[in-house]
Symmetry: C2
Subunit: 380 residues, 2 copies
């Protein structure tokens, strides 16, 4: 039999200005491209394994995990395949089927799936609706009070540090304090924060944190981070009865290949870039202000922005789409002509975007491009 | 804080002749190195995702999975993070906590961990001990009879197609027939077979197969294959109640990055190489014969070999080690001087090796190198 053509190139998404928030934090610095090439073959990191991936000294995974743990303020760190697999592992170890996890109303779908796969019930702390969709930390207290009064078995509280719909930052420290007042541990989903902004799990009152290498830590996917307090290590990193060194929730080993090496090679770069987080936030706020200044564009979510992921409502583009021969595709195509990609094809009512990692010149060019489109269709 | 030096190079293991069976089947052909470079950034395969990784058309994951399913004789194929994650997913979907899986006595430790993580009991079909460690398919019947008589709840039968200790091939078709006679499905672990030798799950009576991209399919890790019959798709690929398109056991999506692209790019290469499996077996048998001809070296496991993974008992090297100033390290060092790596440092009583993918000239050189070492220490 013959294989079909899989179209294995990514020129357009790599070589243009890509506004997709999912793609902004996962760009590899050159040292990580080099590492990827070096460790491209199969089980490349396992040459010197003595039974535990996290103890391998060549390449220095053991040293890396030590550095990483200090960087994010946890006692123990492991690599996992991604934030979702980290959440699944924590829930699997900490919760029994039929128990309940309390999660924010802006949680990522993978939080729901991790709970569903573990046969857990989900109770949500709702967001504050349009246009901010804010999560109020103190609503966790209200939800916990109601549920515990009802006798609900709550084994875990989860908060999405930065959500993927609105890019809202929620005060983890306050949520963690509330959870701890009830004796329940907090799992903080840092997929959109760890690697972009500084994270200190201890000061955030997080007992568990998960991060995403491919989303926010300048690594090839799939690779993520699970960090935890020593207090929970016996439970979450429990070892096999039969294979005494192997951790059950890790199925022995997790990141058996190239992505973990890119995460390692990128750590020094990531450590530096989180120091410039304030600049990224300032740049984002300026971007929002200029975009809103074009008219018919409105930032949704908490204002002012505290993260680079921005959601805009864009009635102005939707009105153009309604009259345009290319309908909703016109915006994608106009942007593409200006070497800008990452807004979904056909989408004009609203979109998510990010300028993370772009220079001010690039951001100015992006704003000017949107302005040109608005102007072109002014009397359309 | 500063990062430690992680030593991110792999020159020795890449540029020498590497005998480690774990590394022989995961070497990337050049088209996959190219794909890896193209898709190195973060969430690179997700540019055109509409909610399901396995349905992405650019790159052509949907077409690839279709080709792959035909190649291995299954109705449905998914990528997973590796064979172990595939086994865990099947057990998680098919078995309830407290139930029993019947597995071969040569099963990989990850089979035990997947069961343990699912809180399943394991009953083993023992191997036939030294020196063959053969698994007799008909012993599955005996074990099943005994267990079912006792009222044990057996929800899955698992066979390691080629085991990682002896490289023994077991007749899956016969085991599958027995399992089916009792109405129990068979999960076939093809980590060491799929991608090296032809696999047709249907003719092997396997309801589920798992494969390993990094071990045997010329792909970067971590990536694996899960294949199944339509009959079990509703259960194993069950969709989320809340997120209607997302498959629960996949946590929505699995291979979010570069490794899946290397698996795709390698498929044409892998399809070609399995056609030459007979040549690999012939080469291995010849290698074994010549190695045994050196004296004091004995192949363990079923004879003649039906797979490239070979385990040798090597009392001749152990005797030298006992007298050598470098003790057990002498063998590793002698081989390294001859540009041969992949035998564990310090190991001389026995070792596992493979000549998979080496040319006959390279194999001859390897044999000559062992002969030279034997000769050098003849009167030691």
């Amino acid at each position: 039999m013959e294989c079909q053509d899989y179209g294995l190139n990514r020129t357009s998404e790599k070589d243009n200005l890509n506004l997709n928030p999912l793609q902004r934090g996962g760009l590899l610095p050159k040292e990580s491209r080099k590492a990827l090439f070096e460790f491209s073959d199969g089980y490349s990191v396992c040459d010197y394994c003595a039974g535990r991936l996290d103890k391998i000294a060549k390449p220095g995974i053991i040293n890396f995990l030590d550095d990483l743990a200090r960087f994010i303020g946890v006692d123990q760190a492991r690599t996992v395949h991604g934030a979702r697999e980290g959440k699944f592992a924590v829930m699997h170890a900490m919760c029994q089927s039929g128990e309940t996890v309390v999660v924010d109303g802006n949680a990522h779908y993978t939080t729901h799936l991790a709970a569903e796969r573990n046969q857990l019930n989900i109770v949500e702390v709702p967001n504050k609706d349009y246009p901010e969709y804010r999560i109020n930390p103190y609503d966790y207290k209200e939800v916990l009070d109601i549920q515990l009064d009802k006798g609900t078995d709550i084994s875990l509280v989860l908060l999405t540090h930065i959500d993927g719909d609105y890019g809202n930052l929620t005060d983890a420290r306050a949520v963690g304090k509330i959870a701890h007042d009830y004796g329940i541990p907090l799992l903080l989903n840092c997929a959109y924060s760890m690697g972009r902004m500084p994270i200190d799990a201890k000061s955030l009152n997080a007992d568990f944190v998960v991060g995403s290498g491919h989303k926010s830590m300048a690594a090839s996917g799939p690779v993520g981070v699970l960090g935890l307090k020593d207090e929970y290590a016996d439970q979450v990193l429990k070892k096999s009865k039969r294979h005494a060194v192997k951790e059950i929730e890790m199925l022995g080993c997790t990141s058996r290949g190239a992505p973990v090496v890119t995460l390692m090679a990128s750590l020094p770069h990531v450590m530096q870039r989180v120091k410039k987080w304030d600049e990224e936030v300032t740049k984002t706020r300026d971007f929002v202000k200029k975009m809103e200044g074009l008219g018919g564009i409105k930032q949704i979510g908490v204002k002012p922005k505290e993260h680079d992921l921005v959601r805009f409502e864009t009635p102005i583009f939707d009105e153009i789409a309604n009259k345009h021969s290319r309908r909703g595709f016109f915006l994608y195509e106009e942007l593409k002509n200006k070497n800008i990609v990452g807004i979904k094809r056909g989408q004009t009512k609203w979109f998510k975007c990010s300028t993370y990692g772009f220079s001010q010149e690039q951001v100015d060019y992006i704003v000017r491009s949107f302005a040109d489109i608005v102007e072109k269709y002014q009397n359309y």
